[in-house]
């Protein structure tokens, strides 16, 4: 018996961009006719979504796969789940696999919750008897007991997701492949799901392959990780190094210059009053986001709109700072750079990693718009003067408040 659960060798996936993907008889016929006259078809462009992927996952390990959108994570999961075939290489899986690329696959709105449990469970690879045995457990985990015989089309979207996840949570494969299914449902339910996955990997000793953008979840669930960039494995290491590697690759964007026809965003950086290093700010301290915007045209650009969106690691937008909100349109003198500084007093963000999206427009025409342009970290600080802070899962932002007593 081998202790390798998944072994992947030289795996690659090629897509052809252009006409070939799917089409009509006429196109296919036409391209065959063209092929008679031109020796090589120039129109098709090849695109390698994955290339030279090699790794091994040991039995009982939880491995996180991280990478930016379009890096090839989902393609890798699809190949490992056998949804699509690789173009090169091979892989071997030892054990029964369940893959969860979404929750609720095959759910039918006209069928009742009960019927959908059987349907979805079977689609995910459970046997009928297995579902029957776990049925009560599934229903009570989902919390929709009262509506179990109602058609799912009358469910709220939250109920649907809960029911779907409950089915998935009761799978008992030896190897579990999970895509970002945790991006659904309310926070409480997400926690429940993470707890369940933790249980599966740590207590039951099953192999888990987990793709997510949620660094907190990945870090707490997985011991090892793969960082994928542009279709290749950039890093294969323990999870701490993988998360750092990912954050560094995002940070590499920071200094790059963004340009439009009439202006350039030359610089954007975080300035904390106490000059803390490495883009660190404390809760409750004052900091600013400083930009250097150059007007490349020879006219004065008046009433330029600058907006900053601050999102947390899970991608939720926490703050929106916008010159349009307080009517402070910015004037940029011709052919020179203007320093624009957004100042935040009493930093209300709770500890964690944040990304800044920048948007600049002139006369309602977007000039510069970069998602997650800059990253910074908020660390614990003395917001309330008491030295205490709510726990991370208790709040998203901090606000000052008073308590009045009427005796």
């Amino acid at each position: 018996m081998t202790d390798i659960a998944i072994s992947v060798q030289n795996l690659g996936k090629k897509y052809t961009i252009g006409h070939q993907k799917s089409g009509s008889l006429r196109e296919s016929f036409a391209s065959k006719v063209r092929g008679l006259f031109t020796p090589s078809s120039m129109e098709q462009e090849e695109f390698w979504a994955l290339r030279d992927i090699n790794f091994e996952i040991k039995r009982g390990e939880a491995v996180g796969i991280i990478g930016r959108n379009g890096a090839g994570k989902s393609t890798l999961l699809k190949i490992l789940s056998r949804i699509t075939d690789p173009s090169t290489g091979r892989f071997e899986i030892n054990g029964r696999v369940s893959s969860l690329l979404e929750v609720g696959t095959g759910f039918h709105p006209e069928l009742s919750g009960r019927e959908n449990i059987y349907l979805n469970g079977t689609i995910l690879g459970m046997k009928r008897a297995e579902i029957k045995a776990k049925f009560d457990e599934i229903v009570s985990f989902s919390g929709v007991e009262k509506f179990i015989d109602t058609p799912v089309k009358h469910y709220s979207s939250g109920m649907k997701v809960r029911l779907a996840f409950s089915v998935a949570a009761h799978l008992e494969p030896e190897i579990l492949i999970v895509d970002e299914v945790l991006a659904v449902g309310d926070a409480e339910f997400q926690k429940k799901c993470l707890g369940k996955m933790d249980e599966v990997s740590k207590n039951e000793g099953r192999t888990v392959v987990f793709v997510s953008h949620n660094m907190v979840a990945v870090e707490s669930l997985c011991k090892y990780g793969l960082l994928i960039e542009d279709g290749i494995i950039k890093l294969n290491d323990n999870i701490g190094n993988i998360v750092n590697g990912y954050l560094n690759s995002l940070r590499a964007y920071e200094s790059s210059v963004q340009k439009s026809r009439i202006m350039t965003l030359e610089l954007m950086k975080l300035v904390s009053v106490k000059n803390e290093p490495n883009n660190l700010v404390k809760c409750g301290s004052t900091f600013s986001i400083l930009m250097l915007i150059r007007n490349d045209s020879n006219i004065i650009l008046d009433n330029v709109r600058v907006a900053l969106g601050i999102s947390n690691l899970e991608g939720q937008r926490i703050l929106h700072l916008d010159t349009a909100l307080n009517n402070q349109g910015i004037k940029l003198r011709s052919e020179s750079a203007t320093q624009v500084e957004f100042v935040l007093e009493n930093n209300p963000l709770i500890q964690g990693v944040y990304f800044v999206t920048v948007f600049i427009s002139y006369k309602d025409e977007p000039q510069i718009w970069v998602k997650d342009f800059m990253m910074f970290t908020v660390v614990e600080g003395n917001f309330y003067g008491s030295g205490r802070l709510p726990k991370k899962e208790q709040a998203q932002v901090l606000v000052p408040f008073n308590i009045k007593l009427n005796d």
């Binding site: 008889l25 949804i83 075939d85 091979r90 071997e92 690329l101 095959g106 349907l119 079977t122």
Partner: protein
């Protein structure tokens, strides 16, 4: 220990019957879902499966039974027509359903692995319910018109099997073809409509064999259902034995079935990418 090996260089054709059998639960539940959903929120429910052939039968009886006076060899026209129609209804149902079956299930195809053949196969099972209803209808009419069961009834299981296999053969071909060429979405309704007249349903096959030249007969029997419908009717209510041209139909069914599976397997590899 369950072991899965996927190799990009392995041979493209590998029909894994054991795997297909392992997925029988899925296949049953998909058929169940289709059945439950088809008549959900309809007032008449399963009765619709009876109304459609009944309406066609009524038109046929008026046009071919009364007006044209087709020679049925002494068998009351409604019994004659429904005997042919029962097998055809099943075939037409499977054709209509299979063509779009994989496109209809694309959410599943893109998100989970299972042998894709399960999809068209489950459609063929769903059709059996409608088939059974039309067969009951046929039995009812035979009782009303006091038409005795023919001595050829021993051949019925064979023709039932042929009906299912030929429906599957064309269904598997169409489900795979429609993924790549959506043109077939438009071809299928046309095929079904055309086939209703190019198959000996409303008239006996002898009329064709007797009145048309040899080459036209060969062409006629290239319709896989031509031989099947003829034999099916002969097994139940008797009449003229199937002509030797029927072998063309039978041979073609066999060929279509095998080639359909090969083509399907080939497309299966890229199904999730092109659907």
């Amino acid at each position: 220990m369950h072991k899965t090996v996927v190799d990009a260089n392995s041979s493209p054709f590998r029909l894994n019957l054991r795997e297909l059998w392992a997925y029988r639960d899925l296949f049953i539940i998909l058929a169940y879902r289709d059945l439950r959903v088809r008549y959900a929120q309809t007032f008449l429910g399963l009765f619709w499966a009876f109304i459609q052939p009944a309406a066609t039968l009524l038109i046929f009886s008026v046009v071919f039974g009364r007006a044209v006076k087709v020679d049925t060899g002494g068998i009351p026209y409604p019994v004659f027509a429904i005997a042919g129609m029962s097998a055809w209804t099943y075939f037409a149902f499977v054709l209509n359903q299979s063509g779009n079956s994989i496109i209809g299930a694309q959410e599943m195809v893109k998100k989970i692995y299972f042998p894709r053949l399960v999809i068209p196969l489950s459609k063929a099972v769903v059709g059996l319910v409608d088939f059974a209803i039309v067969m009951l209808f046929l039995v009812g009419l035979m009782l009303i018109y006091r038409v005795p069961i023919s001595a050829n009834i021993w051949a019925l299981p064979f023709f039932l099997l042929l009906t299912v296999v030929s429906s599957l053969a064309v269904g598997i071909w169409l489900s795979a073809l429609t993924i790549r060429y959506r043109d077939f979405q438009h071809v299928v309704p046309f095929m079904v409509q055309f086939g209703l007249y190019a198959t000996p349903i409303a008239y006996p096959a002898e009329t064709i064999v007797k009145n048309l030249p040899h080459w036209a007969n060969v062409l006629y029997y290239l319709n896989p259902m031509a031989g099947v419908v003829e034999g099916f009717r002969w097994a139940i209510i008797g009449g003229a034995a199937p002509s030797e041209y029927s072998w063309i139909s039978f041979g073609l069914i066999f060929l279509l079935f095998l080639s359909g599976i090969v083509y399907f397997k080939k497309i299966e590899k890229v199904m999730a990418d092109i659907v």
